[in-house]
């Protein structure tokens, strides 16, 4: 196992280097000058000399290879550079938003799991029943509904019309709240974005759980367990579900990067200060240092997510062993 881990780490380093170089070059080859995002000529026309001075100040006038080597050296030293847009350290930009994204993502993940596993299980166990049909319809609607439309409908109904929940932001800013009141305030603000974000996920996972469980329930060992007189609930939960969850673990591991990258649409509509907005806005603004920071972080998370998923197989299925 240790040799396996060592091999994975070495391969990961190679992947990180390749992704960083490729991203850096592609980013600089894309059309558009970051200076014109920074200083819109429609609001203030500047002389070519001033624009050159700005490029120099932002370090954009050096050859791409030199810029990359500077970036690589600084990154290895822990300095991820400064955002072109905000002039703040890239690490600060990420650190100020990552916890918000993790909160939103994990809350939606938990909601998706809590809803998908029981409903998927029930749907499989009571196949072709009214429960199964309703959950199938619900899942397809959940997958098909555009998240931005669903978000606006919820805001209109629950915030504007009924006034039950806040429509935007992560917390109330008009008063200073502390302790339990602050936590409750964040939870209230979390409800709508979590529901929207988890809808597609829980719909998909409901279908995965149903399909996987149906396959397992048809296996011989399940028939044997029933023949031995094991209660149906124990057959389903203890024997069938555990095996049926293996593909679900795969999907969960692969969805880890999405948890960190955030969800741009949901964050934009709800004004949630997360990584999704940071990444997309950095791309629109040609904010090269932030783009690199977010890209490398995503890369690390993808690599870690795959590794965790592979290790989770070993736990879930004792037959799996890595040399």
């Amino acid at each position: 196992m240790s040799q396996y881990l060592l091999r994975r780490i070495l391969v990961s380093l190679l992947v990180l280097f390749t992704v960083s170089a490729g991203s850096f070059v592609l980013m600089h080859l894309a059309p558009g000058d970051p200076v014109y995002v920074y200083v819109n000529p429609e609001k203030r026309n500047m002389s070519p000399e001033s624009l050159d001075a700005l490029r120099h100040q932002l370090g954009l006038d050096r050859p791409i290879l030199v810029q990359y080597l500077f970036w690589l050296r600084n990154t290895l030293e822990g300095n991820w550079g400064y955002s072109v847009k905000s002039r703040a350290p890239v690490l600060r930009e990420i650190a100020s938003r990552l916890p918000n994204t993790l909160l939103l993502s994990f809350a939606s993940l938990i909601l998706a799991v809590v809803v998908a596993i029981p409903i998927g299980t029930l749907s499989a166990v009571k196949q072709y029943s009214i429960v199964d049909y309703l959950s199938t319809i619900g899942a397809f609607v959940g997958i098909s509904v555009p998240s931005f439309w669903f978000a606006l409908i919820l805001i209109w109904l629950l915030s504007v019309k009924l006034g039950w929940l806040p429509s935007t932001g992560m917390r109330t800013l008009t008063v200073e709240l502390t302790g339990g009141a602050a936590m409750l305030d964040v939870i209230r603000h979390l409800v709508l974005p979590v529901v929207v974000l988890s809808l597609a996920q829980m719909s998909e996972w409901t279908r995965y759980v149903r399909t996987a469980l149906l396959e397992v329930l048809g296996q011989d060992y399940i028939r044997t367990a029933r023949a031995k007189g094991v209660p149906e609930s124990m057959v389903t939960v203890k024997h069938a579900l555990r095996n049926a969850l293996i593909p679900v673990i795969t999907i969960a591991g692969l969805s880890l990067p999405a948890l960190v990258n955030g969800a741009y649409v949901v964050e934009t509509i709800f004004g949630w200060p997360g990584m999704g907005r940071l990444g997309v806005n950095a791309i629109m603004a040609r904010d090269y240092p932030v783009i690199m920071g977010v890209t490398m972080m995503s890369c690390v998370v993808v690599i870690a997510g795959n590794l965790l998923a592979d290790l989770a197989y070993v736990v879930a299925d004792p037959r799996i062993h890595y040399a």
């Binding site: 059309p31 200083v39 609001k43 002389s47 070519p48 001075a53 905000s86 703040a88 709800f270 200060p273």
Partner: protein, 546 residues
């Protein structure tokens, strides 16, 4: 009278007296209702460039400076055009126009309690003028003919500014919020480090009624009341600039009461008007919509062609359709806040006249109703009259309207969608710009037409509209050396008439800022302005009904 009766009367009299006192106190406490509360202002994006006012690039941070920072005078770069003394109380200029003496306001403190003095003005000026600072948005405004203005301290509250050539609108030119010298000196922050210093990243000190207390990235900028403000304690305790990127979500937040004040689009007005708790005010701004034509292209080189394209547009209908009648139609190249603005002869909507002009130029009817070149100078005979309209913003209504109008006169318009940074990258600084047509949203030039010099009047490469006219350039040069703004305006008006005849741009209408607000916000005394550096002239007088 018995003692008991006397005591009863005394008691009654005392109660009556107490009631009168309470009544008087009650009436005298009415102004107290204005104090306290928070105003939540919806903005669409994080600050661009940080929160130090000298480094602004025209983003959300401008709204923050309107509450926290102040310039020497208000106006010029801003709207309205007349100058109002703020941190400067008065100023004089020498007869030759080269020396300005500026008298500063005493008794003003920075938000950390330290006094504002001439040292701050000198520090602020040299910081902006130093290329290492990167204050490119403002640096050139502290120069004339390539030479920097020289700032000298006469005494603690008097500064002398010497220029290499007369600058008639100097106070407008240097209308940039001040920054505190002592903060940067005491913290050993060099000019090149200001951009990445906490003053820019998290917000620094100003002399305004509210100080930037906290910046939460992608969430909000929080400003707290400054009790030591030189005009007196502000009414509000706090102003929160809440960042909500989506316009529909912003409107929802306003209608649900989570946001008190925000800018909206024209098509959102009906929904706001339906709400009993919200209302809209429209303020004309120093900005306009125009259609830019690349007059260096052979198809657009002939002035008659540009006249035809102008007469083929029903500008009133466009104004009513896009702006719902807000703002005003332009009859000149400048925006009305410009002192050189004058109403020039209209180009009336006349399709027949437009077609006749194009026929005169040499365009002939072609297949599909699109004109083809006959004997058009510089155009290969048989070429279809086809223009590429570069579209840089989602939801830009003008390209489709222009496409329809010009189709009526046989001009085919194809929309080319591109990002604005790509557009500027491919067109800026080039004499042979590739664009044919694009929508211009320029603004914030102030009362002097000289501020338009980079757009019109230099050369085709430097001009955003690819427009070069030696007569106009000469008039601009004469105006820049004029002895007074009135004399300069004589030259600018002549230039304006030439440009209106040349039509390198097709001015449509002046823009309007549409502010939607919750009616609990009381802004009358604060006075809404269309200034670049703040929406309220007196933000300390803003208050909210509890």
């Amino acid at each position: 009278m018995t003692v008991r009766k006397m005591l009863a009367i005394a008691c009654l009299v005392s109660c009556f007296a107490a009631a009168v006192c309470v009544g008087l106190l009650g009436s005298s406490s009415a102004p107290d209702e204005k104090y306290g509360g928070t105003l939540v202002w919806g903005v669409s994006d994080d600050p661009l460039g940080g929160l130090c006012p000298i480094l602004t690039n025209g983003g959300t941070d401008l709204f923050a400076y309107g509450f926290s920072a102040q310039p020497l005078s208000w106006g010029g770069e801003n709207y309205p055009a007349e100058l109002r003394p703020i941190l400067a109380t008065s100023w004089e200029v020498s007869p030759d126009g080269l020396v300005w003496t500026i008298h500063l306001r005493s008794g003003v403190n920075w938000q950390d309690g330290k006094p504002f003095t001439a040292d701050d003005v000198l520090f602020w000026a040299q910081t902006i003028q130093d290329p290492a600072t990167g204050a490119e948005w403002f640096r050139e405004r502290f120069y004339v003919d390539g030479l920097p203005f020289t700032f000298e301290k006469i005494d603690a509250y008097t500064v002398r500014v010497t220029t290499a050539a007369p600058v008639d609108n100097l106070m407008s030119s240097i209308c940039v919020p001040l920054i505190p010298a002592h903060y940067f000196i005491e913290n050993n922050i060099s000019n090149s480090e200001i951009a990445t210093s906490p003053a820019n990243v998290s917000g620094g000190l100003g002399t305004g009624p509210f100080r930037i207390a906290e910046y939460r990235p992608s969430e909000a900028i929080i400003l707290e009341r400054f009790d030591g403000y030189w005009r007196g304690r502000p009414y509000l305790d706090r102003v929160v600039l809440r960042i909500i990127p989506d316009p529909d979500a912003m409107l929802s937040a306003l209608l649900s009461g989570e946001v008190d004040w925000t800018m909206i689009a024209v098509n959102q007005i009906p929904q706001v008007k339906k709400s009993a708790a919200c209302d809209v005010i429209a303020i004309p701004v120093d900005a306009a919509y125009s259609i830019a034509l690349n007059s260096t292209k052979p198809m657009l080189a002939d002035k008659r062609t540009r006249h035809a394209l102008m007469e083929a547009l029903d500008r009133r209908a466009i104004w009513e359709n896009v702006s719902m009648g807000y703002g005003q139609i332009l009859y000149g190249p400048w925006i009305p806040v410009c002192t050189a603005y004058e109403d020039l002869p209209d180009y009336p909507y006349d399709v027949a006249a437009a077609k006749a002009l194009l026929a005169e130029v040499g365009w002939l009817p072609g297949p599909g109703g699109i004109l083809v070149a006959g004997n058009v100078a510089g155009v290969v005979p048989g070429t279809r009259f086809r223009l590429e309209y570069w579209v840089t913003r989602v939801g830009d209504a003008f390209p489709t309207l222009v496409q329809a109008y010009w189709r009526d006169i046989g001009v085919e318009v194809e929309q080319k969608f591109t990002e604005s940074s790509v557009f500027f990258d491919e067109n800026m600084g080039k004499a042979d710009k590739p664009f044919d047509v694009y929508t211009v949203r320029n603004g914030f030039f102030g009362p002097s037409a000289g501020n338009y010099s980079d757009l019109i009047g230099s050369d085709a490469a430097a001009s955003m509209y690819s427009y070069a006219n030696s007569q106009v350039a000469a008039l601009f040069d004469q105006a820049s050396h004029a002895a007074s703004p009135a004399e300069a305006d004589v030259y600018y008006k002549q230039a304006g008439r030439i440009i209106w005849d040349d039509l390198p741009i097709l001015p449509l209408f002046q823009r309007t800022a549409l502010w939607a607000y919750n009616t609990r916000v009381q802004y009358a005394d604060a006075v809404v302005s269309a200034s670049l550096l703040g929406v309220f002239e007196n933000p300390e007088l803003l208050w909210v009904k509890k």
